[in-house]
């Protein structure tokens, strides 16, 4: 900088301004990506939502942030405990006319031996 800085036309940021801008960027990353508290919250939300439908192995649920091709992804691994999953199939009104399908549906899930 110095006395001739006005000649360069563009004002260069001072070290103080630089620190603030760098901090802002790094804090956004800290807050969004590697934030264990947020991940824990998302994990418990997921567990509540999924365990309504499936019997899952809550001890082995894993959730993490990953990065692929400059895109951030949330990866969740949710092991299912029970082998059989069943639910009532009650199709919405607009589909009954087309297919007429209704009743109980059972889904067989293969047990993953690696789980235990």
């Amino acid at each position: 900088m110095g006395i001739f800085s006005f000649m360069s036309g563009r004002k260069r940021p001072t070290p103080g301004e630089l620190a603030k801008e760098r901090l802002k960027v790094v804090l956004v990353q800290d807050r969004i990506k590697v934030n264990p508290e947020l991940l824990e919250l998302i994990k418990s939300d997921l567990l509540t939502a999924i365990s309504h439908r499936l019997d899952i192995d809550e001890q082995h649920v894993e959730i993490r942030m990953a990065r692929e091709d400059r895109w951030d992804k949330l990866q969740a691994e949710v092991p299912i405990k029970r082998q059989k999953v069943s639910f009532e199939w009650d199709p919405p009104a607009h589909t009954t006319a087309v297919t007429g399908l209704s009743g109980k549906v059972t889904v067989e899930v293969e047990k993953d031996d690696d789980l235990e």
Partner: protein
């Protein structure tokens, strides 16, 4: 009694937690409050030496928690202020010697005896930090105007919120206004903009802190120290007094310049140093 438990924390080490705890505690006692300062940095105790009480320790926080002694036996009375007490940390114990439940119970016990309980947190975000905030009504974050400290402070703010505590307040410590003026250091406004919490105090870099620590007398006792005055102001704000945040203005007042010219008091500008 309507007592308040305040935890001083920072995330990063070496930003002035212990100094702040000693001075805020002392300043509150100077305001006529009955105060306990608690060193929760088990294994690395320093608050005792900052207050000059290192030779009087018989029992410590872990002894109290484990029932080896009563709370009153472990509390050490300050040399100068009869209403100020220290509960020292254990020096020879593991930092996991105390759990959150015990710490919360300890805070309850202290509430019964004191107007203010000021807890010095260890650095870091592990169990020691969690123990330090578990029983707190209020959290004060100490940060320096530099990247690593502000970044860690931001993490701490998130953890404090996740723990269900009210939003912490900030003491910005070791500000060097001549560097700020040159644009070489972040300003108070910059740090506040980044962290988004309320400001409780601004403490300038001050050689007198080291002198005071060497003597074992908190710098708030020294009326000439600018850092001491800042800590006193912060303590008054804690009590609820409206003290303007005018530590920001570094230019000495006309009175101060006159005083310096006449030869009373120290030359303030010369006392600030680079660390």
């Amino acid at each position: 009694m309507n007592s308040r438990v305040i935890t001083i924390t920072s995330g990063k080490g070496g930003v002035g937690k212990t100094t702040t705890t000693a001075n805020i505690g002392t300043a509150l006692a100077l305001q006529g409050k009955k105060v306990a300062v608690v060193d929760s940095d088990i294994g690395l105790r320093n608050l005792d030496a900052t207050l000059g009480l290192e030779n009087r320790i018989v029992y410590d926080l872990v002894d109290v928690v484990e029932g080896q002694c009563r709370l009153r036996q472990a509390l050490i009375k300050d040399k100068r202020l009869p209403e100020l007490y220290l509960l020292p940390a254990a020096q020879t114990r593991d930092k996991n010697a105390v759990n959150s439940v015990q710490m919360e119970q300890l805070c309850q016990q202290l509430r019964a005896e004191f107007d203010f309980v000021v807890i010095d947190s260890p650095a870091g975000i592990e169990q020691g930090f969690r123990n330090a905030i578990v029983g707190a009504d209020e959290i004060i974050i100490v940060a320096n105007p530099e990247m690593a400290s502000v970044r860690d402070a931001d993490r701490i703010i998130g953890l404090v919120e996740a723990a269900g505590k009210p939003e912490p307040r900030l003491i910005l410590n070791r500000l060097r206004s001549e560097m700020v003026k040159r644009g070489d250091m972040m300003d108070v406004a910059d740090v506040l903009e980044v962290l988004g919490i309320d400001l409780l105090g601004i403490v300038p870099e001050d050689e007198m802190i080291i002198v005071a620590t060497n003597k074992g007398e908190p710098v708030v006792h020294d009326k000439r120290s600018r850092a001491g005055r800042s800590f006193l102001n912060a303590a008054q704000r804690i009590i609820g007094k409206e003290i303007p945040l005018d530590e920001i203005t570094e230019v000495p007042s006309l009175l101060e310049r006159l005083r310096r010219f006449v030869g009373f008091g120290p030359a303030l500008a010369e006392r600030r140093v680079r660390s």
